[in-house]
């Protein structure tokens, strides 16, 4: 008999496409939460594989904190345009105004936590019953525990002590009115898998993922992009460095890494050699407590 072989990336890809199609088959009003980072760009690529030549059975939804990298926003608009899919943008700015939320203050005041309000409002506004996201289990220890179909109550809350059994590749997306399911098709991918896949599939990314010169503030060993969103204190020095981003979140809570890697190939070599994790190196918001992510998820965060 003929020999067939499958690479591990083939397995991961097929698993993700299968999950996308389960969402399409099981839900009335799904949405793909698109952040503009490499993981959600990979999701879009997988969705194309899952549904073309048809249209996506869901819109792309971006919760815009107002603190995004301009490069990422431009990339977002271009991508949605070029694939001809619907993009919905909802702004944290508007939620803050309408709901009179208190803007966080501080040196790197982050709207990361406020995002959850806008997200939950958006889910309610459109009646989304499933939100697809690009979280990966290798990112963080609370994420390592979450199901692929993760049921959230009306307040978007995750109950880690009472997750549904999830057997084989059979996903139970049944929910009560008001609840929604967060779906993570690339749960089982690691950062390196993503980059290997980006290389294999020749997926285009925003320029900030590649080496470039940038004005940054050096703060406790991390390089934070200089922007009007951070507060400068006396003694702060802005320096120009050759950097790239390993993750793309808000300008206030993602740090850059020094790097000369300007091709996917070079980035892969750097990731293989790195001694720190993606979040450890680049996230300014996770260090607050051991359970920072678990707590945010319990409150409705992605």
């Amino acid at each position: 008999m003929k020999q067939y072989r499958s690479d591990y990336l083939d397995h991961l890809e097929s698993e993700a496409i299968h999950i996308f199609r389960e969402v399409a088959g099981q839900f009335e009003k799904p949405a793909l939460l698109f952040s503009g980072g490499k993981d959600s760009i990979t999701l879009v690529h997988l969705a194309l594989k899952a549904f073309r030549p048809g249209k996506f059975p869901f819109p792309l939804v971006h919760i815009d904190t107002g603190h995004n990298f301009p490069e990422a926003l431009a990339f977002r608009d271009n991508l949605a345009n070029s694939i001809g899919e619907k993009l919905i943008v909802r702004k944290v700015e508007d939620t803050i105004r309408e709901k009179r939320l208190t803007e966080p203050v501080g040196k790197f005041a982050s709207r990361n936590a406020l995002q959850t309000y806008t997200l939950l409002d958006t889910i309610e506004e459109f009646g989304f019953d499933a939100c697809i996201g690009g979280a990966r289990r290798d990112e963080e220890k609370a994420r390592a525990k979450e199901r692929i179909f993760s049921v959230r109550d009306e307040f978007g809350q995750w109950n880690p002590k009472l997750q549904r059994p999830e057997l084989w590749n059979t996903y139970n997306g049944r929910i009560h009115k008001g609840e929604n399911v967060r779906v993570f098709p690339i749960s089982n991918w690691t950062e390196l898998d993503i980059w290997n896949y980006i290389r294999r599939e020749n997926i285009q990314l925003p320029s900030i993922y590649f080496s470039h010169e940038r004005e940054v503030l050096e703060h406790e060993g991390q390089l934070v992009a200089y922007s009007s969103f951070i507060r400068l204190d006396p003694g702060d020095k802005i320096v120009t460095r050759t950097v790239r981003y390993r993750t793309v979140g808000d300008m206030t809570c993602t740090a850059a890494v020094e790097s000369k890697a300007d091709s996917v190939e070079d980035i892969i070599s750097e990731i293989i050699a790195t001694k720190t994790s993606e979040r450890g190196e680049t996230r300014i918001d996770d260090k607050v407590s051991e359970a920072a992510m678990e707590d945010r998820k319990k409150n409705g965060y992605f």
Binding site: D7, I17, H18, P53, P165, W168, G280
Partner: protein, 413 residues
């Protein structure tokens, strides 16, 4: 590079999480900041050494209680292979989470504390591994450091477990003495256990053959979604989107849609919008058919060389995963791949006694964590295979329609 998915199982505190921490640590897969974080937490708890179990025990409640509650997934790779690890809880209360992690595993490492030998949870997890047809099992006798690396202790446990393996019908079982805490026989062979002749645990994980576990023979394609662009140029396009869960499909192949039994041929196979001549398990593809027959989500497209059964009654071994007991006559939804049908559990034939492995033929009802054999009747026909012959089309879940929760795992017989 290929992929191995494995789970660590065994009783509470047998050292599953520590083993995974050790495996990641010794294979240099832990990054500095992750290590610093668990070092800090270990000190917070006034313990001398770093507690490697903290690497997977990611929930606050787990860290507080020092036990695992739900499965944690961890990833690492060696030049030979990529691994996906599911670290399961040992506590009986969380057995359903162990079942979750076990259901996708190619291999199970069942740990046994050398001081305690085979205990009830060892048997329970072995039964589950067997029911789920996990192809490969490694019995890791752990905490050898606490029994002076005694060969006698180890041998006695092996003899004891061999009985369990026989009774539960586990096939490929390997044995290894280890100390997860000290790192003996995890990545490197240990000089403390020189009487042991086999390779290290990592050797076993790297060299267990898994590609041949895929079934290229019986073609099964559950339809998940129908792609209908309805644009001017693709007006008549109907693509059946799904994943080939077993077998191979070629353009021109005669196929049958079940449960309807309607026949046609494959006119095209698309991957990513591009035409291909053939596709195989585990690819996600879109099938185009010659005739416009009525097929929708929940149907399965097969080749008529080896048909699955299509019936309204089936027998299954069931793991019960809900606190609400199952009383014969109860109604549920049964989901097998993309097909969901109404079902009633007509009767429970017997319940398995986890300790004696004997069958109890007057069981009454089934409680949380019970394993039993039941007859299930469905409201409409369903096409299935025997789980032990084709696990991809023989595993179904039961859903409680009032709570929407997944309450039972059915291995169809």
């Amino acid at each position: 590079m290929d992929l191995l998915r494995f789970i660590t199982a065994g009783s509470v505190d047998d050292g599953k999480s520590t083993l995974i921490g050790r495996l990641l640590y010794d294979s240099k897969s832990i990054l500095i900041d992750q290590l610093e974080a668990i070092e800090k937490q270990s000190k917070n708890r006034e313990e001398g050494e770093i507690d490697l179990a903290l690497l997977t025990d990611g929930l606050r409640a787990e860290r507080e209680q020092g036990i695992t509650i739900d499965v944690a997934y961890k990833y690492f790779s060696t030049p030979k292979r990529k691994f996906i690890i599911a670290d399961a809880p040992g506590h009986i209360q969380y057995t359903r989470n162990m079942v979750t992690g076990a259901s996708n595993s190619d291999l199970a490492i069942i740990l046994i504390d050398a001081r305690n030998g085979v205990v009830e949870q060892t048997r329970r997890h072995s039964i589950i591994a067997s029911l789920l047809s996990i192809p490969h099992v490694v019995i890791a006798v752990n905490k050898m450091d606490l029994v002076d690396y005694s060969q006698d202790v180890y041998n006695n446990i092996v003899i004891d477990y061999a009985k369990v393996a026989r009774a539960t019908g586990l096939k490929d079982v390997k044995y290894i003495p280890i100390s997860a805490l000290q790192g003996d026989n995890i990545v490197e062979r240990s000089t403390n256990i020189s009487w042991y002749e086999g390779g290290s645990l990592l050797d076993i994980l790297e060299n267990t053959e898994v590609q041949k576990d895929l079934n290229y023979k019986d073609a099964r394609f559950p339809v998940q979604y129908v792609i209908r662009p309805q644009t001017d140029d693709l007006h008549d396009y109907r693509g059946y989107a799904g994943k080939i869960i077993s077998g191979v499909y070629r353009v021109g192949d005669p196929v049958v849609a079940l449960p309807s039994g309607l026949k046609t041929r494959i006119s095209g196979i698309e991957i990513n919008g591009k035409r291909v001549e053939e596709a195989h398990v585990p690819q996600s593809v879109t099938l185009l058919l010659e005739d416009d027959i009525d097929i929708s989500r929940g149907d399965i497209i097969v080749k008529d060389e080896a048909l699955p059964k299509t019936e309204q009654e089936l027998e299954a071994l069931v793991c019960w995963m809900d606190a609400k007991p199952l009383v014969p006559g109860n109604k549920y939804l049964l989901q097998l791949n993309s097909r969901v049908v109404r079902a009633v559990v007509k009767n429970i034939e017997y319940k398995l006694n986890v300790n004696t492995l004997e069958k109890d033929y007057s069981p009454g009802r089934a409680e949380l964590n019970d394993v039993f054999r039941a007859v299930i009747k469905t409201a409409s026909p369903i096409s299935f295979d025997r789980y032990d012959e084709l696990r991809e089309n023989g595993g179904a879940i039961l859903i409680d329609e009032t709570s929407n929760v997944t309450v039972g795992a059915c291995m169809i017989q």
